[in-house]
Amino acid sequence: MQWITLCKLDDLIDNSGVCAYLPDIEGQGRQLALFSLRHGDKQQLFAVGNWDPIGKANVISRGIVGSIAGEPVVASPLYKQHFSLLSGQCLEDNNIALPVFAVRLSGQDVQIANPSQPVTKGVC
């Protein structure tokens, strides 16, 4: 599997999101929302599309993160729908999901896997 480095760990903000740019083949580029959930010593990274399919703007990285019934989620800052950070699924609307990307930490590098294809298919 090919991993692409997007940014450094200290570009992320604990329990919050940032947006990273992912150049693609057509040179269009796509926007990813990167989240770092930290509680105590536990840290988890998540990457989903930054495009809010309901609010129709690139704002997902600016949403509040948290959990609903144990599932890590981000709430859209525009209309407050929740999206699972694991599956991208919108909790308020079964027909809508964000694309989800595999993400890992390699040393201090935040890396994304297989950038041409998101882990789950969603609206991006």
């Binding site: 997007l6 947006c19 580029g29 509680h39 129709k56 690139n58 600016r62 509040i64 993160v65 948290g66």
Partner: protein, 851 residues
């Protein structure tokens, strides 16, 4: 002939209006025409004295022209009916017009009785019934020092309160040996008198006024039969009412010997096509001078006209009210006139409380009661009396001060038919059915049954009933803010304060579960800020903020932000205006003047915000907190500095207030305003905190609201000096910050406070909870730790890290596109974006335009 029934209603008082509302519901096909003798449609006469406490005519209105138009009700104001032609079924107006009817409803009400005392027709001799009367009293009071009310009944005492509120030294003159002789017994009357005199109203009983002559010190002198005299500048007659039955007499309908249009159980007069309802009607020899029986008659008449079967069967005349702030209530046979009746009395002179029970000979049934100084037992006693319920073994326990074991009559004990709200005739059964149908919250039950929306006297009983019933049905009234915390906002506030909790993580570890969410995180952020006031973008707090707080700007639909610099009280120098213009031009921001007297700059990209703010701060601007649940603006009128009418410096005070509370985080946004005179150009009465200048200082209004559900602010305190004003606002705001729910504006918060405005006054003014000092100290701490968040933000690279579109690329968001409209930039629509196909429209449109 058409099938439509023509219903003509003469009179648009409270009862006439209620009839119209009932008939519209019961008989949708009817063509209803209303004739109002007054210049306006129906208003709330029960709360008339509030006019002098600051309520406007609009506040008192029960309906409006547009509402009647919506209902399809025709109406004429200032329409005086001269005569009824019963043969032709026509009504003739004074101006010569006539209207035909199929059914005529007389709701002409009553008029104040003015005793035939020589000299009673001079200027400044007034009555108290209509808005016009109040305006006349207000005008006369402005040229008077001493006012006297002739008549010590219920209305007379209301009128005395009005005179007192108008700033006069007030007297009450009563013919009988005691006050409120109809409703109270001798003991109650005495107690009421001493309480009222303690409030500064002089009471003269056993006084028959013989004539009114010119006075020595005042405008007039009242000369009494016993040789004594009283001087006054303004004389108000409130010696009872007389039914307005002149039309009925002209039309030769049957009337009573002492007035009143005789009606049957269907509210029909002696002409079956003519009905009479309210205070003009005489049923079984009785006039009913209260609103609830009038409403009952209105329902009966509407029902009969629409082929219903309701009957009028008399009405309970029990009443509970506050006269000059003194609680007074009377139930049933207050005088114990029923043969064999026995009574129990309790009196507490130091506290000014008098209570009496009247029971039947067997001591099984409550016949009547009198309560003065404390009417908290009214609801329970009324239910015993109305429903004929068995009294407890020791009936006196119902009025004795309880040592915690008062046999409170649970709503459970009431029969299903018990009337809860007599104004709108809502029974316990009606409330339960509404709950069966899904209404499970007090507000919802009020709006679907109308219970407790009339005089409000049943509010306590209704709440007890609903709470008890909810508990019985196993509905847990859950106050948890979300799944992560089993606490209400108020409880969390308390935990943070008492346990000195400084971060969300600590709060979650100690009292919560999971990771938190977009509900509890902003709540915690607000609570932490209200307590410790640390920088909101500091590392432990940044993830808690809503996006607007995170970026210290307001996110718009396309993901751009708007920027609002603080312009305290709306006062701004030309140089600062120019800077705003220059910044807007440089960054191509759309500019709009806000309702809060400042300027909103739209369309800033997240990465532009720090640069924009560097320029604004360099010019002396501070953040406006438009993004926060916090103080927004203090709107002001130009005040005494410029205005011909201003009596105080409203701009200066508004600037001081805005600078004092800027940055205060609260459960929801807070808006304030200061007006320099009663013309109220700053619209302070629609704000959370409104200040209006008076000749003597400031009037403070609280808990007003514009928006979706507008609410007029309540007058909280009058003629305050500036220091006291600020002290009260400190306490008020901090009490709100501590106790309100998440996203609860002050208006809704006030409505949820048990005890309402009176309770709030006790806490803030009388310091009943002993909190005042702590509230002020906490406010002082917030004020002392104020910082301009933007100034702090641009001072550190760490803080600015988030103000980048991408952490790994120096590019703008290509989805943000603008088009030009009316000389400014606005977001491109979906279609426009497709049409321009990812070309940066802002670039193209920025080429020189043809003017």
């Amino acid at each position: 002939m058409s099938n439509t029934k023509k219903i003509l209603v003469v009179g648009n008082g409270m009862v006439g209006h209620h009839f119209v509302e009932q008939l519209v519901g019961a008989c949708p096909g009817a063509e209803i025409t209303v004739l109002s003798g007054e210049p306006r449609l129906a208003y709330d006469r029960v709360h008339l004295s509030e006019f002098f406490a600051g309520k406007s005519v609009e506040d008192l209105m029960l309906t409006s022209e547009s509402r009647y138009q919506q209902l399809g009700v025709h109406f004429f104001c200032n329409a005086w009916v001269e005569r009824i032609d019963r043969q032709a079924k026509q009504v003739w107006l004074k101006d010569g017009r006539h209207l035909v009817y199929d059914k005529l409803v007389l709701a002409t009400g009553s008029y104040p009785f003015v005793p035939p005392i020589p000299g009673n027709d001079q200027p400044h001799c007034l009555v108290y019934r209509t808005i016009e009367d109040l305006e006349a009293i207000q005008a006369s009071a402005a040229q008077s020092r001493v006012g006297v009310v002739i008549g010590g009944g219920l209305l007379g005492l209301e009128a005395a309160n009005a005179l007192k509120q108008a700033g006069l030294q007030a007297h009450v003159v009563e013919f009988a040996p005691q006050l409120m002789a109809v409703q109270l017994d001798e003991g109650g009357g005495k107690q009421l008198r001493s309480k009222i005199e303690a409030l500064g109203v002089k009471v003269h009983t056993d006084k028959a006024t013989q004539q009114i002559v010119a006075g020595k010190h005042c405008r007039y002198q009242l000369q009494f039969k016993d040789g004594e005299a009283l001087e006054a500048d303004l004389i108000l007659f409130s010696a009872g009412i007389r039914p307005q039955d002149s039309l009925a007499r002209q039309a030769e309908l049957q009337t009573g010997e002492r007035g009143g249009i005789i009606i049957d159980d269907q509210c029909r007069t002696s002409d079956p096509d003519i009905y009479a309802i309210g205070e003009c009607a005489l049923w079984q020899g009785r006039i009913f001078g209260l609103v609830a029986p009038g409403y009952q008659m209105a329902r009966v008449a509407a029902s009969h006209i629409s082929a219903g079967e309701l009957c009028f069967q008399g009405a309970d005349m029990s009443t509970k009210l506050k006269l000059l702030g003194v609680e007074v209530a009377s139930i049933g046979d207050a005088h114990g006139k029923t043969p064999g009746a026995l009574s129990y009395q309790y009196q507490n002179q130091p506290l000014g409380i008098y209570k009496k029970l009247v029971v039947d000979a067997s001591q099984q049934r409550l016949l009547g009661a009198v309560l003065v100084g404390d009417s908290s037992d009214y609801d329970t006693l009324l239910q015993y009396a109305l429903n004929g319920m068995d009294l407890p073994e020791f009936p006196e326990s119902l009025i004795l001060p309880s040592a915690g074991s008062k046999p409170a009559l649970g709503a459970d004990a009431l029969p299903i038919t018990a009337t809860i709200c007599s104004c709108h005739n809502v029974s316990k059964g009606d409330v339960l059915s509404a709950m069966d149908a899904g209404a499970c919250e007090l507000g919802a039950i009020k709006s679907c049954t109308k219970a407790s929306t009339g005089c409000g006297g049943c509010a306590g009983l209704l709440k007890t009933l609903v709470d008890g019933e909810l508990a019985k049905r196993g509905v847990e009234v859950k106050k948890d803010i979300c799944e992560h915390f089993a606490y209400s906002r108020q409880e969390l506030f308390h935990l943070v304060q008492v346990e000195n909790i400084r971060t969300f993580e600590a709060l979650l570890d100690k009292h919560g579960q999971g990771l938190g969410c977009d509900i509890c995180k902003p709540v915690a952020a607000s609570i932490l800020a209200s307590n410790w006031n640390e920088f909101v973008l500091a590392t432990p707090h940044v993830g808690l903020q809503d996006t607007n707080d995170t970026f210290l700007a307001n996110m718009q639909k396309d993901g751009t932000y708007s920027v609002v610099p603080r312009v305290p009280a709306g006062e701004i120098t030309p140089d600062k205006l120019i800077v705003i213009g220059q910044v807007a031009k440089k960054y191509r921001l759309y500019t709009k003047i806000t309702g809060g007297q400042r300027i909103d700059l739209f369309g800033a990209r997240v990465e532009q915000l720090p640069d924009i703010w560097r320029e604004l701060i360099a010019a002396g601007f501070e953040t406006g907190h438009a993004y926060g649940k916090s103080l927004r603006t203090v709107k002001s009128c130009v005040g005494s500095t410029w205005c011909r009418y201003g009596v105080q410096d409203s701009v200066g005070t508004a600037i001081d207030i805005e600078n004092r509370y800027k940055g205060l985080r609260s459960p929801h946004k807070i808006k304030m305003a200061v007006s320099g005179c009663t013309r109220e150009c700053a619209e302070a009465q629609s704000k959370d905190v409104g200040v209006i200048a008076t000749e003597k200082g400031w009037n403070l209004y609280v808990c007003g609201n514009g928006g979706m559900k507008p609410r007029h602010a309540d007058l909280f305190a009058q003629d305050l000096d500036t220091d006291t004003l600020i002290r009260y606002i400190d306490r008020f705001l901090m009490f709100y910050v501590r106790t309100a729910d998440r996203l609860q504006r002050t208006s809704v918060w006030l409505e949820s406070l048990e005890g309402g405005l009176d309770y709030l006054r006790e806490v803030i003014i009388d310091d009943s909870l002993g909190l005042a000092e702590a509230l002020e100290a906490q406010m002082q701490q917030i004020i002392g730790s104020y910082q301009c968040e933007w100034k702090t933000a641009i001072g550190s690279e760490q803080n600015l890290k988030r103000f980048r579109q991408f952490v790994n690329a120096d590019k703008p968001d290509s989805n943000i596109q603008f088009v030009e409209e009316r000389g400014q930039w606005r977001p491109a629509s979906e279609q426009e974006k497709l049409a321009f196909a990812a070309i940066d429209v802002r670039q193209i449109s920025s080429e020189p335009q043809n003017a």
